[in-house]
Symmetry: C2
Subunit: 136 residues, 2 copies
């Protein structure tokens, strides 16, 4: 199986990483995910890494890349289910996953994404109100 | 990685199958899933097999088992994302996946589960109304 499936749930995309991300698989995932964000007009990407017990700098970089690319397309990335050992390794490797939000589990991750969307939507509403005000 | 992660979303559980289900992995998945159904009081199990391109009688049986076990614990199982080739193979193998609901993708699967829950809940409501009626 040479592809990691991307599941769509409303305006969120969900990816579960269960296998070692070797080069080609990681690049395919990056490309597929960014295309899916654009195609489905997604606002959030959830990456579940609860099955990942060993992390290296390559995987850390891939996750960081996905987050940065999604951000440009206006989608936030949340990594969920990180095992304590993985968190320890990431910090020891000097990879604090900047720009990536994290949550303890899938449900908390979705809540986080929803709260971020609400904030953005409110901002937009405020802008809309401001616009109306100017028009008047 | 010797475990397939089970993700909880409200009262549904989600499993994405990305690797070949050999004996031990399949049995672990069965056991974990049934325990999760009981622990989280889940009403539905979604199994995404969009990454599965080859299916054999063993995998067909495992999915059937999970559905039957979940059913006893009052949870419905929906298999989503089946590739056309897999559907062809299953029928040719004589495995029509009885007792397993299917849906084209994750979103349709969740809609199906929700509609099944609504039906059950309505039945319960009707029972409740009937009880009220008797009480009066």
């Amino acid at each position: 199986m040479d592809k990691i499936p991307i599941l769509r749930m409303g305006r969120f995309l969900l990816v579960t990483i269960q296998v070692d991300l070797y080069d080609r698989l990681a690049l395919t995932l990056e490309a597929d995910l960014i295309q899916a964000v654009q195609k489905h007009n997604a606002r959030g990407v959830l990456i579940d890494i609860s099955a990942v017990s060993i992390v290296d700098s390559f995987m850390g970089r891939i996750i960081g890349n996905i987050a940065s690319m999604s951000k440009i397309l206006d989608a936030e990335t949340v990594v969920v289910g990180m095992q304590p050992a993985v968190a320890i390794t990431l910090i020891e490797l000097g990879l604090p996953l900047k720009g990536v939000h994290t949550a303890l589990d899938m449900e908390k991750g979705m809540d986080l994404l929803r709260s971020m969307m609400d904030t953005t939507d409110n901002d937009e509403d405020e802008d809309a109100i401001a616009d109306d005000f100017i028009t008047e």
